[in-house]
């Protein structure tokens, strides 16, 4: 393997979901479990949707919001939860606090908690992630144009989504790597930063990345 520190080594990843056995049938139960579930589970319910079967819900972008809207019919809470941008939080613990705050607020406004149908309970799920080497790398920014169209959904997830919790500066791998090349790539980095990963899917994120790299060579 090359030892050049400016190379970007392309990795791929795959997730496997695991049941936690924690199921909430109303908002109080959701709050209680949310206090104690691992941050791994919170991460899954915000980002795991990118790697599992689901249709885009134009209104609600995380599992907590979707459940609030469709299973306990709490639209105000669903809207408040949906607007949370997980990227804006420096840690998953901070995100947990925000979620709990919104749920507490909703409980304060609610006389009686609505019970979800027993088949519609909120299932807390966690995950394990397997990361593997693709034996591909790029040395120069212009090579990204060639390699990006060939990347799998797993690679896009790893470098663009997962990177944000791996990297201390919470940036994706592409911005971090291009940052090494200085001013000529500042505009490219800004354009990549403008791609909103939260309101999209991996296919569209990949298309946006390709377009960005092609228009900001």
């Amino acid at each position: 393997m090359k030892s050049d520190t400016t190379s970007l080594y392309i990795k791929d990843c795959t997730l496997i979901a695991m049941a936690t056995g924690k199921r909430a049938q109303n908002l109080r139960e959701l709050r209680e479990y949310l206090r104690t579930v691992s941050t791994n589970s919170i991460y899954y319910h915000f980002w795991g949707g990118l790697l599992r079967p689901r249709f885009d819900d134009p209104e609600y972008h995380n599992d907590f919001a979707i459940w609030s809207a469709h299973s306990i019919y709490n639209k105000p809470l669903a809207e408040r939860l949906a607007v949370i941008d997980p990227v804006a939080f420096s840690s998953l613990e901070d995100l947990r606090i925000e979620l709990l705050g919104l749920i507490e607020e909703s409980l304060d406004e609610t006389e009686y908690p609505v019970w979800a149908n027993r088949d519609d309970q909120f299932e807390f799920i966690q995950h394990q992630i397997v990361v593997f080497d693709t034996r591909r790398w790029v040395d120069r920014p212009e090579q990204l144009t060639e390699i990006l169209p060939e990347l799998s959904r797993g690679s896009i997830f790893f470098h663009f989504i997962d990177a944000r919790r791996r990297n201390e500066n919470t940036l994706d791998d592409f911005q971090n790597w291009l940052g090494q090349f200085g001013d000529p790539y500042r505009e490219t980095c800004e354009a990549i930063a403008a791609i909103d990963p939260y309101f999209s899917d991996l296919k569209r994120i990949k298309e946006s990345l390709i377009k960005t790299i092609q228009t900001h060579p």
Partner: protein, 411 residues
Amino acid sequence: MLEKYAEVAGHDVVEHLRQLAEPLKGLRLVHINSTKSGGGVAEILYKMVPLMRELGIDAKWEVITGDSLFYECTKGFHNAMQGNPVNLTDTQLRTYEQTNRAYAQTSEAMLRDADVVVVHDPQPAALISSFPERKGKWVWRCHIDASRPFRPVWRYLRDFVGAYDASIFSIAAFSQRLPHPVYLIAPSIDPLHEKNIDLPIEEIGGVFSRFDIDSERPMILQVSRFDRFKDPVGVIHAFRLVKQFVPNVQLVLAGGGAADDPEGEVVLQEVRSSALDDPDIHILLLPGDAHRTINVLQRASDIVLQKSLREGFGLTVTEAMWKNKPVIGGDTGGIRIQVVNHHTGFLATTPEGAALRTRYLLSNPEIMAEMGNKARQFVRENFLVTRHLREYLTLVFALLNENQERIELGG
């Protein structure tokens, strides 16, 4: 074989599998279930095992067999896991345990030395008791909707299942609390299976004369075993409600028996009685290997129903969706993951609900076509065997690296 899958699922998907499987070359993995034909489990393994072998894994598929008492007992397990109160006799349970012990003796060396053993459903679940000194990781794979099992039977099975290193359920709602990691893997269909491959238009047309179906009239179809949980009588009820408004509609109920299902004949008689010799209700009892016929029927139909009351997953739903058909499915189990209400079909809880949605789609052919196209794309991205295989490979790494949230391979 993998190259052929690349053409359907995408070259990137297959390359991803090859890279993931690279460190697993030579791994000895054994799948055990109770039938080589009939039912979704056998269909999955039929292709999963050769694909694993092509990726370099030393994969085997073994089948436990028994006498009628064994199958009565395991059918009882199946019904009980889906929530039916079932009283199993001591004789049945002893036969179950004895059959498992006898099988364990005949396969002792292979199972003892395997790196990973995947035991499917309750039939072979007791095998683990015969291997207290096993070397590999043993996983129990539950294909059944076990969300609300009949507790006395589940407690009996749980003693065996709890001894495994991990278990797999199709969705979280089916899972039970167990003293080991519980993984979630949805099943899949094989796009290159005879049941799912593209067919010439003439062959599809030929099915009408073969089964005396009128090609000019709308046709709705349910493909499933004759099993009460699939609610074939409810489908006939829904059909009669549709017929009041769409008099020329036809219904095809196509099913076969599985080798491990002794109740099929009884349910078939109930269905025939309910049909009352209506010439527009076609009840087709097909052999377990009538894959191509099922493929033709699914392609020839306008709408596919899967009005199950309980469903492990419902691969017939995925199959129909792959053929661009909207599906009206029971609002239960894995059907809810596949049928995205108003996108790839509709969910219904009653014959009345199924009838209403059927009428709606028959009156709106453009919406029917649009839903069918969405359904196919949804299956391509989520329910093909390539995704299933990827998750099995991921599972093996997860098993070998317990308690690690992030597993980095190859440095």
